[in-house]
Structures are given as structure tokens and as C-alpha cells.
Symmetry: C2
Subunit: 212 residues, 2 copies
């Protein structure tokens, strides 16, 4: 697929057709990922393909985005978190560059994908997958064959509205700061609850989960 | 350009030909960036094109990657940092997804680019460009017309070596932890020094700057 078409027609896809993505196809996605740039050329990516339904169920129970309960596989993206550049979190940026390559490559291969950061605590994920301290779970990418239902979604701004020269010169729209504080605190408390209690609150949390 | 070719033949480019990238071309890069996915569909990108030589000089003096002193323009990428998901820093990931779209699009248009996280403190950058608190500088992308010298660079691992299924199962190579601690502490101290003192240390710091 042409690069421009891939970038402009890609969408987050949360509903997938039947059938599992072949291992060969997953390797192609990973190979595209590791051709992204990486800070200091560390190339510190690791990928755990999750296709055990019990693990997917556990992810949801622990607080992952609920739509993944209807999916049958995904990729947990890890990156070596030993960086000296903690202010810019360069390792997170490298991981994300790889993820974007996966999303574009998946789309061009007829595979639907969704980038998921709505996940349980890193500590719990590390425990679930036996991840050593020097690797950080960055995000999860749910995958499945595309149903071909994807439609374009308009952008909030045109490019010209969010570019300025040599100085920040934008009207800054006000988002509700108090609502954000409440949401952030709620999120922190929810993910600190013991698992059985968290499970009880799950239906309530699902109501607030952003779906689009 | 074909997506696959763009992903596999893209390289970080630090030396550029003469001539400035046209504003129309820069808008095309930004437009590709904002077609990346963004956490909760916030689309919180802002871009400051830096083409004032004094600002580029100041960035270097304050501790940016030294190669940018030989460049004549770049894009400072900002993103709305008001997130409730502080554990996964989803806003940083969205910013990085946009940057990867810029890098691929630039490459396909014959524009060389380099993703730079080696930058002065965020606080200083915010001061330099008059950036309000709700936007975070994420990275800088240096830009220039490509000299066409790019060659492939082999990856450290093959895809199959860094994928496992349902569990972390990799030999974890040991990187020198003490060296990292020294580097991290050195970096922290350097960026806390008052600017005139930092300037004095600059030649020493340049020796340790990774160039590849």
C-alpha cells in the first residue's frame, strides 16, 4: 500500500473478523516495528504475543480496555527502560515509533489493530507475563482480520491551525481541569483496589470508558 | 512511496543539502502527523517550526544535540499533557506516533529528518518558545533536503528473536548498570548548571554525545 494511503486511511479497529493472524504475518509486523528509529540506537523492543484466552480475560479483569474481551490476540509491546534521559522518556518514544509502524503495516495487510494504553498497573502486567525489571510494558495492540468497515474520521484541526513559527502562538482551548483531576484520582484509586474489589467496580468503570 | 519501502529505507539523517523546506511541504508533514492515532482521540498535537538561527543556536547552547547547529530548520513537537493515564504516559505515545508519520512522510518526499530527544530541560524550552503549562515539549525533528547518502543499517535482532508467546522468554542481555547510573547523574547535573557554566562544559559533553 502507498505510504500516504496507509497513513490517511488507517483507523483504530476494535471489532475483528473470525480467524487468527498467522505467526508469519505477526513476524512481518514486528519486523516493521524494529525498523523504526530508536533513541541512541538501543533497539530495545521486545514483543509478547498474547493469544491465550485466559490471559486476555485476566487483562480485562484487571482493568484493560473492555473491548479486548472480544478479541483473540494482541501484542504486548515492551521496551528496555534503562535510559539516562528520564526527562524526555526517550525509550517510550522509541517504543511508540515501533507501534506506529505496526499499525500502518497491519492496515496495509488487511489487519485491524488498536493501540491500547488503558491497561492494568505495569507491576501487575510484569507479574502476569514474567517480565524482568529492565523492561517496561508500554502498550498493547489488539489485532484481528479487518471487517472492512473502516471509515474516515475528520481531524479536529487542520494542519495550518496547529503550526506556528519560532514561538507558541495558538489560542489554547480550555479543557475542564477539575473533571480531569477527578478522573485521574478515580483511576488511581481503581487500579490500587485489590483485584476482587476492582472486579466489583468494573461495570461502573465501563460506563466511563471512552469508546469511539 | 510504498509503505514498506518507506519503513525499511528510512534512516535518521543529520546532514542536509542547501535550501529550506517550503512551508507547503512542512504542512504536508504536519498533516501526516495528525493522522496518527491519539489516546482518547484528544489529537493534542501542536508544532513549532524553528527556523530562526538564533533560536537554533540557543538550543545548542542550552544542551541540544550538537549536530543541529549545522541545520537551518526543525519542528518542535508539543502535546497536550493533561492526561489521566500518568502510568502509561499515553500523551507521549500519541506525540511519538505523529512524529513517526512525519519521519516516514519526509523520507518519501526526499526530506531528511532526525528525531531528537537530546534537548535542554523542558522548563527552559517552554521559556524559550513561550509554551503554556498544558503543553509539553516532546521532541525536536531536524529537517533538511536529503543528500541521498542514506544506506541501510542492520538491525541488532531479527524479528523472531524478540517475539515470544504469552510469556516473557528472552535471554536478557546485561547492559552496564553502573555506567548508566553515572551517565544519568552526569546528565542531571549538567542540565541543572547555570547556562554560562553549562557552556563551559559543552566541549566535554560533546565527546560523550552518541553519534551514529
Amino acid at each position: 500500500m502507498d505510504l500516504k494511503k496507509a497513513i490517511y486511511s488507517r483507523r483504530s479497529v476494535r471489532r475483528y473478523g473470525a480467524g487468527k493472524i498467522q505467526r508469519k504475518e505477526i513476524l512481518d509486523l514486528i519486523d516493521a516495528a524494529i525498523h523504526a528509529p530508536s533513541a541512541c540506537d538501543i533497539q530495545g523492543w521486545r514483543f509478547i504475543v498474547v493469544d491465550d484466552p485466559r490471559l486476555i480475560e485476566e487483562l480485562v479483569e484487571r482493568g484493560s480496555a473492555s473491548f479486548i474481551k472480544n478479541t483473540s490476540q494482541g501484542i504486548l509491546v515492551l521496551y528496555d527502560c534503562r535510559t539516562d534521559n528520564e526527562e524526555y522518556m526517550d525509550y517510550l518514544q522509541s517504543a511508540a515509533a515501533g507501534i506506529q509502524n505496526i499499525l500502518l503495516t497491519a492496515h496495509s495487510a488487511g489487519i485491524g489493530a488498536c493501540w491500547v494504553c488503558h491497561l492494568p498497573n505495569k507491576k501487575e502486567i510484569k507479574g502476569m507475563f514474567n517480565i524482568p525489571p529492565q523492561y517496561d510494558p508500554v502498550a498493547y495492540i489488539s489485532l484481528g482480520y479487518s471487517l472492512g468497515e473502516v471509515t474516515d474520521r475528520p481531524r479536529k484541526y487542520e494542519a495550518g491551525e496547529i503550526v506556528s513559527y519560532n514561538k507558541f502562538e495558538f489560542k489554547s482551548e480550555t479543557r475542564e481541569v477539575n473533571a480531569l483531576k477527578v478522573k485521574r484520582t478515580g483511576r488511581e484509586i481503581y487500579y490500587k483496589l485489590p483485584l476482587p474489589v476492582r472486579r466489583l467496580f468494573r461495570p461502573l468503570v465501563d460506563i466511563f470508558e471512552k469508546k469511539f
